[in-house]
């Protein structure tokens, strides 16, 4: 239901125009997770900014159900690379920010948030400020905000890459748990093969800058289903690694 076609984005830098994405076409179904893998600087963040309506100058089309995708008409949750928490808001206020833009929080919002905090292990931290949290806790707050919002489209920019390995796997499990309960169309960007294979049903492999779609891999038998210890998981990772090595060499 979300379709990107012939997307190209260029930045105006001092040194002249810099092409970040070229001829990117993609489709994303309702309740599908799509993991975009690409080397650093290939335009992954740029792609998310276009989907989030932050970059408005691009060529090509980005449609949802046949209409242009804009944040005014579609509920979009965006977790940027640094989690996007506002330092002057408490954990509680930060988590509510998604639903409270444009309206006041209802009793139902607050009840759901309390439940989310419990499940995410954030109970008791409500009155802290982001500066008083560990990276993993900040990421949990960002996830609480996103799940509370129940967006039509969820965008995550290298959501777990700044965390240590143990915390990263823990949070990937948290994400899968919530996502399975309420499948939200998700685009997540990563440079890690395991993360992509573990969380994505569809893997999109981008080339080095300017980013072009090299290959789309159907990961549905593995992504969001199998455990990390599964043989199928390890085989899929090895396969994707091969494809990537091929794709990034060119």
């Amino acid at each position: 239901m979300i379709s990107i076609s012939a997307l190209a984005v260029a930045y105006e830098a001092q040194a002249g125009r810099c092409l970040a994405l070229e001829n990117v076409s993609l489709g994303l179904e309702v309740g599908e997770t799509c993991a975009v893998i690409g080397p650093s600087g290939c335009g992954k963040s740029t792609l998310l900014k276009v989907l989030a309506g932050i970059i408005k100058k691009y060529s090509g089309t980005v449609m949802i159900d046949g209409r242009p995708l804009t944040p005014r008409e579609t509920k979009i949750g965006f977790i940027p690379q640094n989690y996007g928490l506002l330092p002057w808001k408490t954990v509680y206020q930060n988590a509510l920010l998604g639903v409270t833009v444009g309206r006041a929080a209802t009793g139902a919002d607050k009840a759901r948030l309390a439940a989310l905090f419990d499940q995410l292990g954030l109970a008791g931290l409500e009155d802290r400020y982001p500066g008083e949290l560990s990276g993993g806790q900040q990421q949990r707050v960002a996830l609480a905000r996103a799940f509370l919002l129940r967006p039509t489209l969820l965008l995550m920019d290298e959501p777990f890459s700044a965390l240590d390995a143990i915390t990263r796997e823990e949070l990937q499990d948290v994400f899968r748990h919530f996502w399975r309960r309420e499948p939200i169309a998700t685009v997540l960007v990563t440079h890690q093969v395991e993360e992509a294979v573990y969380l994505g049903r569809k893997l999109v492999i981008l080339s080095a800058a300017p980013g072009r779609v090299r290959q789309v891999v159907d990961n549905s038998p593995v992504g969001a289903v199998s455990a990390r210890s599964d043989g199928s998981f390890a085989r899929q990772c090895a396969l994707v690694r091969e494809i990537i090595q091929e794709a990034w060499r060119k």
Partner: protein, 248 residues
């Protein structure tokens, strides 16, 4: 403990000042440098029926000037910080006028606004407003772009960006600008109160001087410095209330 420390420091400052003053007065042994205890004793006797009203006038003018400066400076600074075009248009104007010693504008302000309250308040506002504009503008400019993304992706309009990001991000900057401007504002207030009014600490101190009543003059100076202390303490208090997140 950290709550009590500022109070202890204020006390320490007051005691140190009194000791220095006492030393100077013993050393000089002149009527123009009276003993601090004599001054405080005099202050205790005349505060209620003489000085209190003057100090309220001065405080009122400072507060009015500060509020006026914020009412103009915050919107202008926010606009310049957020909209690069507005910044390009207004920056030259701000840079040209900011360095002018505001006291040099006093004759112009008096000509336009008369000798009364308005001119005094405008003078104070003029001192503070530039500091506020520049502090807010730089504060907004230093907000990393990523900070806005979650709001933009929710389709938030300018109102929400203002409320959720621009104002909280610039509040600490506004308060420190006020703190920096306050000392100059009090000096200029003093100056403007030496004419066109019979109320205010400036008037009281100059009047006591002309009457060669040094005890009253010093009592006025003490009150003026306590007034300054109250203003700084109020700014500190606001900062602790509004910017709790900063100390984490």
């Amino acid at each position: 403990m950290s709550e009590n420390r500022p109070k202890a420091w204020y006390l320490y400052g007051a005691v140190a000042l009194l000791v220095l003053w006492q030393g100077a007065s013993v050393f000089a042994d002149l009527p123009i440098v009276p003993r601090p205890l004599a001054v405080l004793d005099n202050l205790g006797r005349i505060f209620g029926d003489k000085i209190a009203l003057h100090s309220l006038f001065s405080l009122g003018r400072i507060v009015a000037g500060a509020v006026g400066a914020m009412a103009v400076g915050i919107p202008v600074g926010l606009g310049m910080g957020y909209f690069p075009r507005l910044d390009r248009a207004l920056s030259p104007l701000v840079y040209l006028t900011y360095p002018i010693p505001k006291i040099a504008l006093l004759p112009v302000v008096m000509l336009l606004a008369g000798l009364g309250e308005t001119a005094k308040i405008i003078m104070i506002a003029l001192i503070i407003v530039f500091q506020v504009i520049i502090a807010v503008r730089d504060g907004v400019k230093s907000i990393p772009g990523e900070m806005y993304y979650p709001l933009y992706s929710l389709g938030a309009g300018f109102g929400a960006v203002l409320r959720e990001i621009l104002i909280p991000a610039s509040t600490p900057r506004i308060l420190s600008a006020m703190r920096i401007a306050m000392a100059t504002a009090v000096s200029v207030l003093f100056f403007t109160e030496t004419f066109g009014t019979e109320y205010g600490m400036g008037y009281f101190i100059m009047d006591a001087w002309l009457r060669v009543n040094y005890l009253e003059m010093y009592a006025g100076i003490v009150v003026l410095s306590v007034l300054g202390l109250i203003l700084f303490a109020a700014i500190d208090w606001l900062e602790r209330r509004l910017c709790r997140w900063q100390s984490v």
